[in-house]
Symmetry: C2
Subunit: 454 residues, 2 copies
């Protein structure tokens, strides 16, 4: 280990408790972008945390929640962009949390809170890395840094893409560290080279002006049945999406992708245990669980119709709605798919089914040969004391990284962070391990350190 | 009009305001059987109202809500049984009410409140009729009366049938006046000779032990999709229910039924306006809207799964449930149909879909030639000043009358009451017209008066 890394590691070990406290303060501030709960207060807290470190902070209003941009110069003209988000998923169902989601608690070396893994703990780990690198460089940074911290990632980042296009000069950078790093079930770090796109949308049906007594169900049109039939026409029993043209731009995995996938650890048992799964989709197993990420999906996030209270209510529902998300693979285009969905519903006679788009992201995929990808790989090996796993060619989730990489000159996008497989992201008892926080901060500090000389 | 009827009518006119006030007091007491809200307090209020009139009142506990039985003797040994219920449907959606559902309000000659039409106003109209007949008979009743007032009609009366079987002596009667009478869109009174049966049940699916991130939708089994597929297998596009054996006991309408239906007024425009209907089920219209009541239904009361808050939540739901009701026609047997539903789901590979039965009722149908049916018809003609409409052979709703008529010796069951087509039963702004309340009480008093001599 070189001298700078020794200083960095000592600094982080000495101040670990402070950073965990800072993480817990940030998590104690709710910031549910779907409902708006606490979001603005959280954006101010984030701005203060960055400003306190001497970065020049700007808060940009959007039609939704504010985007925070914070910049600092460094010894090298090269600049690394950090993307994070300060918003979190809704905490429901509350009864499944061991401790309240917005009252962070440490148990067994883990911090429990909504958002601690996705993505507040990671954000604080980066601030810690920044502080540590400065300590190793006599207070200076080796390269410039730009933080972009948005408040709408959990609602599909509807305003980040136009924001980037409108602020290309402000956001100019030579590489980017994205959110979402960490270790696998064997505690091995790794890279994800790309992510699927997404359309988050909602379908609405209204068949009557009010609910009616179900004694008239032989004649009164049911919104529940109509929605159900519209949904049933979207996907067949074999998970094949029935929208004409949906698969036209789908690229199958390349041989390089398949080679990388073949080197991935098996997570079948992990998923079976974590989610109590008896049978995967289409009875998939083994390698197919990994390769099927190259297949786009049509997921139902939720359905709302009729009586949902206790017991029974003899009504024919007049209204029904379903929240959907489609995960898209390279080179599908979400704007085009949304038009195909509309055309399909119309063609099936469902022109009364209204579609509201909540947000969309494009799929994207980077090269495993990029120097920043390689730096991330080699520094991970030093920090974690083992060879990182082979890069994952495509992650199942979606990332607004697509909106930065292309417009900023096809800059590389890498991941390093604090996650682990039992973090329960988007679910009750979300948590991080404190040991992962420390390693994540050490790794990020090394990226900052090495980035100037790439 | 004979002298007794003149006394009755004068009494009811003189005391109309008092009875409307009594109705409003009863409606101000919530009694939502589905949630339990206020139900016990309402049962006590009903017991007091009956006791105050000198009836011998008993309150019977059930596994659900209490059943009130009140009896009084009369000059004749013949006895008329009145069935009512003191429970009401949930009041939601509250924002669609003009005035709060449990704060009764008089507007434009109508009383607005949850339950005022179904069935509290009708119950008070019967008490008024009882008082009026006594006034015309020097304080005596011409025949015995038995009130049965239950608290679970709106949750399919799960305990009334066994209760009747266990209390045949207490409930012995020569005829029965059921709930649910009133006038049609032309203000004409009428009879309904039978009702459909019902199974109210709920389907539950659990595919995982917790919700998961929808980035895994290509492999993680969705409870929403699984429920949707199970439901889609219950009914085809033409409303034909796909459960094998479901139609085996279905009796088609007789020629007498069709003759009665042919004499019914057309309600197509009324329904189109009231419910803003563009297209009826299976594009039915005209006479078919009436005859199709002889077809059983499979209705979705509500579906609950996944995220139902504002915006979007990128999850694969682990749990999903649907509340259903099947309306059954003579001679379908709900216990048998429930078994067929289970067998069908199993045969379709949905043995993991759990069924919970919330309640069931049998279909039944009386003869139009019965003397009590004829008395109801002739007294209605005098009260309303017009020929009643021809009896409806089968109502679309369900009635626990099935549980009384057979066990008590196939006693006739008739209807007389305070309803009208814009009463909004089970819906926001439920109401009765005060004029209908008066006519209903006059009609019921004449039935009491004439029943001794049938």
């Amino acid at each position: 280990m070189n001298e700078q890394n020794a200083v960095i590691d000592r600094f982080l070990s000495d101040h670990l408790d402070d950073y965990i406290q800072e993480t817990m303060r940030l998590c104690a501030q709710p910031s549910v972008s779907a409902s708006g709960q606490g979001v603005r207060q959280c954006s101010q807290l984030v701005a203060e945390m960055l400003s306190r470190r001497g970065l020049e902070v700007q808060s940009f209003e959007t039609p939704g929640h504010p985007i925070i941009v914070a910049r600092a110069g460094g010894a090298s003209p090269r600049r690394l962009l950090f993307y994070n988000h300060y918003d979190v998923q809704p905490a429901e169902p509350l009864e499944l949390w061991t401790s309240p989601p917005f009252e962070p608690e440490i148990r067994d070396g883990k911090v429990y809170a909504r958002g601690v893994a996705d993505d507040k703990g990671e954000f604080v780990a980066r601030l810690a890395a920044l502080d540590a690198v400065r300590a190793a460089h006599g207070g200076e940074l080796p390269c410039g840094v730009t933080f972009v911290v948005e408040g709408e990632e959990e609602v599909s980042s509807p305003h980040i893409a136009p924001f980037v296009l409108e602020h290309l000069d402000l956001l100019a950078a030579d590489g980017s560290l994205w959110e979402g790093g960490g270790v696998d079930p064997d505690d091995r770090p790794g890279q994800v080279l790309g992510f699927r796109g997404i359309i988050a949308c909602e379908l609405f049906v209204e068949t009557m002006s009010r609910d009616a007594h179900s004694g008239g169900a032989h004649i009164l049109p049911s919104a529940a049945w109509r929605l159900l039939r519209a949904l049933a026409g979207l996907k067949d029993e074999n998970e094949r999406i029935l929208i004409p043209g949906f698969y036209d731009r789908v690229l199958p995995p390349s041989q390089a992708d398949l080679d990388l996938i073949a080197q991935q650890p098996d997570f079948e048992d992990h998923y079976r245990k974590t989610f109590g799964i008896r049978q995967f989709v289409s009875n998939r197993s083994g390698q197919e669980l990994l390769t099927s990420v190259f297949e786009p999906t049509c997921n139902i996030q939720g359905i709302t119709t009729g009586w949902q209270g206790p017991g029974t209510k003899t009504i024919v529902p007049a209204q029904a709605s379903a929240k959907l998300d489609f995960r898209l693979v390279p080179d599908q285009n979400p704007e085009e798919i949304l038009e195909l969905l509309r055309a399909h519903l119309d063609a099936q006679g469902f022109d009364d089914v209204r579609i509201k788009a909540h947000g969309m992201m494009w799929p994207f995929k980077a090269s495993e040969d990029d120097p920043l990808v390689r730096l991330t790989h080699s520094t991970a090996e030093e920090v974690y004391g083992m060879a990182p796993k082979p890069p994952v060619p495509l992650g199942g989730g979606s990332s607004p990284a697509y909106a930065f990489s292309g417009p900023l000159g096809n800059i590389p996008v890498v991941h390093a962070g604090v996650g682990y497989p039992h973090a329960n992201g988007h679910a009750p008892d979300e948590n991080i391990r404190i040991a992962d926080f420390l390693n994540g901060a050490r790794h990020i500090a090394r990226l900052l350190n090495g980035f100037a000389d790439l």
